[in-house]
Amino acid sequence: MTDTFNVTAAYDKPSYSQGGTITVTISGNDVLTQTVTTQQQSGVLTLTITAADGAVTTITVPAATVNVSTTTSTPQSVKITGIADTSGRAWTIAANGLSATATA
């Protein structure tokens, strides 16, 4: 099982005035990839063999175990769950987790 994040984050403005509100939003998702391998039994094979002179016989191939791999990709919703700001600014994460705001 692997998670591939395709998430970008961006500010809502190129610059802010002191005291203004900074908003950062995220977009994209996480794709969860899962590969499941199952084992299945093949059926018994019966081969009919015919010689050049017309003689016929049969060969029986017993059942075998076959590994079957199934890969599924499932998009996962994403949320902001934490923000670390080296400037010390305090951030508030929106209820839906898709944006956060701070005072410039």
Partner: protein, 240 residues
């Protein structure tokens, strides 16, 4: 500096996304002054607000030393059209936009800027205004320079003045001060800070109840003789 977001997916998987520190200007957009003209009656923009130029139409009356600064120079005898010694700009805001000129009285107003009075002769004017909230009939708030001392002056509906603050020391010429005024005439709130320190506050009704107000800045003074003053306003912001 960076801002690092922790992103969590629905299945609990986590990753991080780092952003550069957001660009924050010193309280004013860059450029702060746009569409500049020093000509009397011209309209310019400061902090994206329209201001009208009011001066004696001299080449030095209003200049823009850089994108963030307006420089007002006043020489004795420089009269605006009303005959006063004035070099100012007047905010042309209608707020809300579909209402009459000026801000309605129940608006929480905020003005901030850096102010510097240039080196020169001592102020000789009987009175001198260096920034004011102007109402329809009275000036409910102003910064005054009494000789060389900064004052915060408020006026009631009859125009009677109350000096809320007088600096015990002369203004330091050539030095920028960080000024900030927060006022709501309807709610009777006022706070004035200089360099982050509150120098005046009030919870009294100033001006005329319900009267609209607009900001003016520059130099406006009583008639003088041989008196030259120059004031610089930098990184001006006004809200709303």
């Amino acid at each position: 500096m960076t801002v690092t977001l922790t992103i969590t997916a629905g299945d609990g998987a986590k990753t991080t996304v780092a952003l550069p520190d957001p660009t924050v200007s010193g309280g004013a957009p860059v450029p702060d002054v746009t569409g500049f003209s020093g000509t009397n009656a011209a309209q310019i923009r400061v902090d994206n607000h329209v201001f009208e130029v009011e001066n004696a139409n001299k080449s030095y009356s209003l200049t823009k030393p850089d994108s963030q600064t307006l420089r007002f120079e006043m020489r004795s005898g420089d009269h605006w059209t009303d005959g006063t010694e004035r070099s100012e700009v007047e905010c042309q805001t209608h707020y809300p936009s579909n209402e009459a000129f000026g801000y309605n009285s129940n608006t929480s107003l905020s003005v901030a800027y850096d102010f510097m009075l240039e080196l020169g002769n001592l102020n000789t004017a009987a009175w001198m205004i260096i920034g004011q909230w102007h109402g329809g009939t009275v000036v409910p708030f102003s910064f005054a320079l009494a000789q060389e001392k900064l004052q915060v002056v408020v006026r009631n509906s009859a125009g009677a003045a109350t000096v809320l603050y007088t600096d015990p020391n002369p203004i330091q010429r050539g030095r920028y001060y960080s000024m900030a005024i927060k006022i709501n005439f309807g709610a009777k709130t006022l706070s004035v800070t200089r360099d982050g320190v509150q120098i005046a506050s009030s919870s009294t009704q100033w001006g005329v109840v319900g009267e609209r107000n607009y900001w003016k800045m520059g130099i406006y003074r009583a008639a003088t003789t041989n008196d030259i003053q120059a004031a610089n306003y930098r990184n001006f912001v006004i809200s709303p």
